[in-house]
Amino acid sequence: MTKIEEVKAKVEAGKSKLVPGLVQEALDAGNSAQDILDAMVDSMGVVGEKFSKGDIFVPEMLIAAKAMSKGVDVLKPHLAGDGSSKLGTCVIGTVAGDLHDIGKNLVSLMIESAGFDMVDLGVDVPADTFVQAIKDNKNVKLVACSGLLTSTMPAMREAVATIKASGLTGFKVIVGGAPVTPEYAEEIGADGFAPDAGTAAVKAKELATA
């Protein structure tokens, strides 16, 4: 197994104590930081897919994301450019009236590991705050809204409507959360929907590069 393959395997297995050392070894062996990063992004893709299929569960996904983030810490000084991500910035938050954040956090981790810079607005986020964040941050390519309560679905509708009516452009809006269906996402004018965090990362990439 090459060093890069080892990094990949250990990220997938969520070995956050081993990954930083292996990343360093992979660098020492002459691999470029970008190649190592791409390899880790690939392994998170595999993790996301397994999660979507129900082969793995939330803990496995969390430890894999943690392992990757430890690896990225080692890579950061070696990455070219201003360190900003290839795919741009993603603003994410749970809509107003809703405090659930586990799903949102997982989606955030997965979108980040697919190659976005994340701006996490937290929970109970009013529609205007999403708009302000799009203005305040550079290169926003994606806005992600999460909602877990049936009773906050109107707040999600309002968030999407407010963002779309703001006149700001250059980004897509993706929505999700247990009560959200693809039909509802379309109805409220979102550009995309995903049923789980693995698929969310795939969809995010698709939307930002379309």
Partner: protein, 326 residues
């Protein structure tokens, strides 16, 4: 006509019920025990008996544990003993009097005197340390998690003893949400390792002490955990959501466990709810799940609804299905 209790017993043993069980009708829930979970008022914040800060912000549907660095109870799982202190379960006889009176007033031929326990063990771990930290710790610090769970079990056994000594309950209704709508939080293997033995102890203790019925609430997907539920001694899984494919579960496990739900609260219980919608969801559930090993009901974890009228309308629609199917 069978009493509510007899009718439920017939459903569970695959006998001859004479009607659908209407949601929680067979359980007389004793909620006024002196040891019960405390919750903040709307707009308020409390520190509960375990030291967990719980806030209910204005404009929100419910309360939430606060997990920022300042408020989180377990700051380092390997040192959990420094942070976690179980509350005492000792209360004066005087404090027990209202609950004892409530239990006495129940006609036990008609209903099960039912005690209520929440949060469950899994929930307690994430209340104490946040869901993400808890879920990672099952991998990263399994020994500490086993110890913490044992400690919570010890507390629950003391609580069970108090309930049994004072109220001689016929049933326990125990909360612990084990999943999201589409998956269990943890894998069946991990669940078997950490939670099966813990609940086997607790539910076994209730059963050994005259409690007939164990009802467990998890309004989520958890079809993959049913074998563990049976092993733990759960008689009724309440809260089973439609995503579990309830008819298939009944087919596969009926006789070993009874399923209560197949009507998702989220799809019937919202502002602007309608009777037609409830009628449709109740009918679908009753027709596809049938008379045995099944109790139709909303997935919500108590005999209430979030929006006024929904619970009662659901009961009435179940009556209608009884007329059509029985």
């Amino acid at each position: 006509m069978l009493t509510k209790r007899q009718n439920l017993a017939e459903v569970m043993k695959g006998g001859n019920p004479d009607r659908f069980v209407k949601q929680y009708e067979a359980f007389s829930m004793i909620m006024n025990t002196p040891i019960t979970r405390i919750k903040p008022q709307i707009g308020g914040e409390i520190v509960n008996e375990w030291g967990i800060t719980i806030r209910w912000p204005e404009g929100q549907l419910g309360a939430f544990p606060v997990h920022d660095a300042e408020h989180i109870v377990i700051k380092d799982i390997t040192k959990w003993r420094d942070y976690v202190k179980a509350p005492s379960v000792e209360c004066s006889e005087e404090a027990w009097a209202p609950a004892i009176a409530a239990a006495k007033a129940v006609d036990r031929k008609d209903q099960y005197v039912t005690v209520f326990v929440a949060p469950g063990i899994f929930e307690m771990t994430h209340y104490l340390m946040s869901m993400e930290e808890a879920l990672m710790a099952y991998y990263e610090e399994p020994e500490a998690m086993h110890e913490l769970i044992d400690y919570i079990v010890e507390f629950e056994l003391k609580l069970a003893k108090e309930f049994i000594d004072h109220l001689h309950p016929d049933a326990v209704f125990h909360h612990d949400d084990w999943g999201s709508q589409i998956s269990s939080f943890i894998s069946p293997d991990m669940f078997k390792e950490f939670f099966e033995p813990a609940y086997k102890k607790i539910y076994g203790y209730y059963k050994d002490n005259g409690v007939e019925l164990i009802i467990h609430h998890s309004d989520s997907y958890a079809a993959n955990l049913v074998p563990s539920m049976i092993e733990m001694g759960i008689d009724i899984w309440q809260g089973v959501m439609t995503t579990n494919h309830v008819p298939e579960l009944i087919e596969q496990y009926g006789g070993k466990i009874t399923f209560m739900g197949d009507i998702d609260s989220g799809v019937i219980d919202f502002p602007g709810w309608t009777r037609e919608n409830i009628a449709e969801k109740v009918e679908t559930a009753c027709r596809r799940c049938g008379k045995l090993y099944f109790i139709p009901g909303a997935s919500q974890g108590l005999n209430v609804s979030s929006f006024p009228g929904v619970y009662e309308a659901t009961d009435e629609e179940i009556d209608r299905m009884t007329k059509e199917i029985f």
